[in-house]
Each structure stands twice: as structure tokens, then as C-alpha cells.
């Protein structure tokens, strides 16, 4: 190799090494940007109430469960947690029960009105859905659904349904129709073929979509705050306390709100892309 060529390659590796440093630096910086604020919330959560409102603050917690205990024993928290779980569970069940059949129909059949339905589902994205809580509050008063778990769960189902339809649509589309046809020729009817062949294959994906529905409901604030009084969910409860609650209550509450969501997102991470990838077309 000539000297010139050596210098050239040396130059190139020098430049790409520089690129590599910038690249790695940016990736690490962006990871810190996401993780550090969560860490700081946890520091506050696991500090004693005095430390939370003390100054200056230590960046390392002294691991004290005083704030968490205070939060869990605070009047109304247990009730709010329980309401949150109930609403989210009902949302999960309703959105899968309505969404999965629709996803299956979209992936397997050609029929009139298919495009209209797809547009209707996609249209929900262009609308600020939490606003639905306003007219529904009036409607619920009339039909006796006001301040109920079911009433709020129905609104949350409306938020989760488009996702459920799109995820299940992409799940079912990923399974060759030939598998079903093979089951039919072996004597299964449509329903049996679905239960015995398709369902086991899509069950993990359906579970992921159910978990996603749970998280949507668990996190929703506006509709929950407008539609409930006695049956406040945890976000609505915390929102109401923002003005006057002590700091350590807010932070412990925030952590209780965040931690399950983190776990859920970890569980569904494989499916995050099927929610959006398919909707781009």
C-alpha cells in the first residue's frame, strides 16, 4: 500500500472515529434525558416527607418509606386506586371485545363499507377525544351513568378502541389465510378454525393490545376528572389535590402512577410498532 493510500485510510478512520464519538455521545445524552427525570421523581418518592420539602436536596435518596406510607394511608387514595383498576380493567375487556372482531373482519374480508369504517377509525385521531367527556356528562346524568365506573370506562374504551382495531388488524393480517383454509378442509368450521388455529397464534398480540388499553385508561386525566366525583380514579384524585396537597403526596402519587405504566410498556414493547406502522398506509 502506498503512503498516500495509507494516509487516506487513516484519515477516513479518523473521521469515522470522530463520528462514532458524536454518535455514542448523543445516544447516551438522550438516554439520560429520558431517565434522569424519572430517577429524580423516585428520589423524592423514597425520601422522608421532611427531606422532600427540605433544601438543598440530596440527589441520592436516603431510602425512607415515609412518603409512600403517607400516600397509601391518605384518605381516598385506596378508593382511587381501586377505581382506577376497575375502570382500566373494564376498558381493557370492552376495547378487545369490540376491537378484535373488527380487526379480524378488516384483515379477512372484502366488503362494501370497509373503507368507510377504516376512515371512521382513522378519523378518531383527528379529534380531541377527551372533549367527549363534556356531552357525555350530560347524557350520563339523564341515563344514570354519571359518576360510575362503567360510564368512565366507556369513554376510555372510545380512546382505546382505534388502537385495538389497528393492532388486531395487523396481527390477523400477519397470519396467512391458508392456515385457516387448511383447517376448514380438515373439517373445522369457521369458528373452530379460528379458536384452534388463529387464536393461539394471536393471543400474545391480543394481550399486548389489552395491556395498552389498560395503560390508556390508567393514564387518562381529563375525562376522569370531569365524569367522576365519588368514584375518582387516581389521576383525577391527584389532579384535584395538585393545588393544596403536600409535596410528598404529589410525588409518591406520581410514582405510583408511573411505575405500572413502565412495566406495561416493557411488556408490550414488541408490539409498539404494529400500532403505528400499519396506519401509515
Amino acid at each position: 500500500m502506498s503512503t498516500a493510500a495509507k494516509m487516506a485510510t487513516g484519515n477516513v478512520t479518523g473521521k469515522s472515529a470522530w463520528h462514532k464519538y458524536v454518535f455514542t455521545g448523543a445516544v447516551i445524552l438522550l438516554c439520560l434525558w429520558v431517565l434522569v427525570p424519572i430517577y429524580l421523581l423516585l428520589v423524592n418518592t423514597f425520601s422522608s416527607p421532611e427531606d422532600v420539602s427540605g433544601f438543598p436536596k440530596s440527589f441520592i435518596p436516603n431510602i425512607d418509606t415515609g412518603s409512600v406510607e403517607f400516600f397509601l394511608n391518605y384518605a381516598g387514595v385506596g378508593q382511587a386506586l381501586w377505581s382506577s383498576i376497575k375502570v382500566a380493567t373494564v376498558t381493557m375487556i370492552l376495547s378487545i371485545m369490540a376491537g378484535a372482531p373488527a380487526g379480524y373482519a378488516l384483515s379477512r374480508f372484502e366488503f362494501r363499507g370497509k373503507e368507510t369504517f377504516r376512515v371512521l377509525v382513522l378519523m378518531t385521531r383527528a379529534f380531541p377525544l377527551p372533549l367527549l367527556a363534556l356531552p357525555l356528562a350530560v347524557m350520563y346524568l339523564r341515563i344514570g351513568l354519571d359518576d360510575t365506573v362503567l360510564g368512565l370506562a366507556l369513554v376510555h374504551t372510545m380512546l382505546a378502541l382505534p388502537f385495538a382495531v389497528l393492532i388486531t388488524f395487523s396481527l390477523f393480517s400477519g397470519i396467512p389465510v391458508e392456515l385457516e383454509e387448511a383447517a376448514w378442509t380438515l373439517g373445522c368450521n369457521r369458528f373452530q378454525a379460528f379458536v384452534k388455529v388463529i387464536l393461539p397464534l394471536v393471543l400474545p398480540g391480543i394481550t399486548a393490545s389489552a395491556i395498552f388499553a389498560f395503560v390508556i385508561s390508567w393514564n387518562e386525566v381529563f375525562a376522569a376528572a370531569v365524569l367522576t366525583i365519588e368514584n375518582r380514579t387516581l389521576p383525577a384524585f391527584l389532579l384535584q389535590g395538585l393545588g393544596n396537597a403536600p409535596l410528598h403526596l404529589k410525588f409518591a402519587g406520581g410514582a405510583v402512577l408511573v411505575l405500572p405504566a413502565l412495566l406495561f410498556i416493557f411488556l408490550v414493547r414488541k408490539y409498539l410498532f404494529s400500532m403505528w406502522g400499519i396506519a401509515n398506509r
Binding site: A26, V27, L30, C31, V34, P37, I38, L41, N44, V52, S53, F55, P56, K57, F59, A98, P101, A102, A105, F109, F111, K114, L120, T124, R125, A126, F127, P128, L131, L132, L134, P135, L136, V138, M139, R190, V215, W218, N219, V221, F222, A225, V226, P235, G243, L247, K250, F251, G254, L257, V258, A261, L262, R269, L272, F273, W276, G277, N280, R281
Partner: protein, 282 residues
């Protein structure tokens, strides 16, 4: 017969749901905003809303927030997506870390940034430790609207960039590798590949992401309440106040129609601005 009706049967629950809980309520909310108790058409509620002293402030603040947050988020998510795509090892882990905020509600994000910005918070502690300040600064007091605004912008960028990232990474996966190989052969630089291949091919994803983000930006609510209380009025906050505290669902409905109108206008604008000509789709 059975098979022909089956798809409709399967769609029935979801369709019914969408009609009762999506289409019908939006008709209802318009009715609430325009029809008085006696059943007559009225613009009284709109007048009451528009002449209220907080209306203009709330409208301006909401627009300013959207303007400060969304363009930056799109740019940041584009950058993050190209970083992820250039990764050989650890792609899944990094992507998981970067999408964590996806599971975090706006209220929780507000509380998280409250831990940083409140008077005895971590920012003040750090500044004091560095010797920049002697006394903790009230970043979120009623007199410091500027820092409240900044805190909200940071919290929003922190929380909601992940959703854009997911959409863009999914979109980039759809771009055929051959295009880049061809560009490589002709000696196109990385930047040129980005502007001439990635950006144009990403248009549909950018469109989806922008519509979603703009709609969410005009819905901003709990972050603002957590960080600013009532010091920084925004549209959703006003809706909540009128509906819940003042018990006037007609004026709340008028506000709701304003948010709705803005959302639809921006959706149409983005759809038109980022349209992909037929035949140019992958």
C-alpha cells in the same frame, strides 16, 4: 348468506360504539354550545366565552405552547430515529429507553418536572450547589410566567417525543434499502441521502405524526395544571373550569368547539401540506 353477513356482524360492536360514543357526542356538544335552555338557537354562550378576560390569554398560550413544542419534537424525533437506524448493537434496548415516556401520563410528566422546577426542587438544589444562586428561586410562582412556560415546554418535549419517534422509526423501516445503496454508488453524502431520500419517503409517517402531535398539543392539560396551576390559562384548563367548577356546560361546550375547530383545521392543513402524490407511494 352466513359468510356474506359475517364481516358486518363482526364490525357491528365497534361501529355501534363509534356512533354512540364518537359521532353522536360531537353532535351533542355542538347542540349544547348553540342551543339555549328554551330550545332556541343562540350565540350567547360563544359571546360569554369570547368576552371572558381569560379567553384570549388561554387561546394565545395554547397556540404558543404548540408552536414551541411540536416543531422541536418533530426535529428531535427525526434525529433520534436516524440514530436508532444507524445502530448495529443495542438497538432494541435504546429504543425501549427512548419510548419509556410513551407510558407516562401528562399528569405524571407534570409531577416529574415539578420535582425539578419547584422551589425546593432539584434545579434549585443544583444551582445552589454550583454556587450560582444563594437562595432558591421561585421558578413556578405567579410572577414568573416565562419559566412556567419553559418548564411546560420541556415537560411536553420530554413526554411526547416518544410517540413521534415510534411512528418515524416504523416509517423509516418501510423505505427500501436499495435507494440508499444507489445513492451510495453515486457518492451522495449522508445529509443528501437524508434530505433527498429519507425525508420525502417519510412524508406519510410525518403526516401521521404531525397530525397526532398537533391534536395532542391543543389538548394539553394536566402538565400545565401540575406546573403552572392557574397561572398559565390554556383552553383545556378553561373547559375544565367552566364544566367542573362553574357548572356551566354550555360555555364549556363552546370552548370545546373552538378546540375542535382548531384541531380539524390543522389536520386538514397538514394533510394538504404533506400530501403524497398518487404513484409516489412505496
Amino acid at each position: 348468506m352466513y359468510s356474506r353477513n359475517l364481516p358486518y356482524l363482526l364490525l357491528l360492536p365497534a361501529t355501534l360504539f363509534l356512533c354512540i360514543f364518537f359521532l353522536y357526542p360531537f353532535v351533542l356538544v355542538a347542540w349544547q354550545a348553540f342551543v339555549s335552555d328554551t330550545g332556541e338557537f343562540t350565540s350567547e354562550y360563544f359571546m360569554e366565552m369570547a368576552t371572558h378576560w381569560k379567553f384570549n390569554t388561554a387561546l394565545t398560550n395554547t397556540f404558543m405552547l404548540a408552536l414551541a413544542v411540536v416543531p422541536f419534537q418533530i426535529a428531535l424525533a427525526l434525529y433520534m430515529a436516524t440514530l436508532v437506524n444507524g445502530m448495529k448493537r443495542g438497538r432494541d434496548l435504546i429504543l425501549y429507553v427512548w419510548t419509556i415516556p410513551l407510558g407516562i401520563s401528562d399528569l405524571a410528566a407534570g409531577i416529574i418536572w415539578l420535582a425539578i422546577f419547584e422551589q425546593t426542587g432539584f434545579l434549585n438544589s443544583m444551582l445552589q450547589g454550583l454556587g450560582v444562586i444563594e437562595q432558591p428561586v421561585g421558578f413556578l410562582g405567579y410572577q414568573s410566567k416565562g419559566t412556567i412556560f419553559l418548564a411546560i415546554v420541556l415537560a411536553e418535549i420530554w413526554r411526547a417525543t416518544a410517540i413521534v419517534l415510534v411512528i418515524l422509526v416504523a416509517g423509516m423501516g418501510l423505505i427500501p434499502k436499495e435507494y440508499y445503496e444507489a445513492a451510495e454508488v453515486f457518492g451522495a453524502s449522508r445529509w443528501k441521502q437524508f434530505t433527498r431520500i429519507t425525508l420525502p419517503m417519510l412524508k406519510p409517517s410525518l403526516q401521521t405524526a404531525m397530525i397526532l402531535r398537533v391534536i395532542l398539543a391543543f389538548e394539553v392539560f394536566a402538565v400545565v395544571v401540575a406546573l403552572g396551576g392557574t397561572n398559565l390559562p390554556i383552553l383545556m384548563g378553561e373547559i375544565y373550569t367552566w364544566q367542573y367548577d362553574l357548572r356551566d356546560s354550555s360555555v364549556a361546550a363552546a370552548y370545546a368547539l373552538v378546540v375542535l375547530a382548531i384541531s380539524i383545521a390543522f389536520t386538514l392543513l397538514i394533510m394538504w401540506g404533506l400530501r403524497t402524490p398518487k404513484g409516489a407511494r412505496v
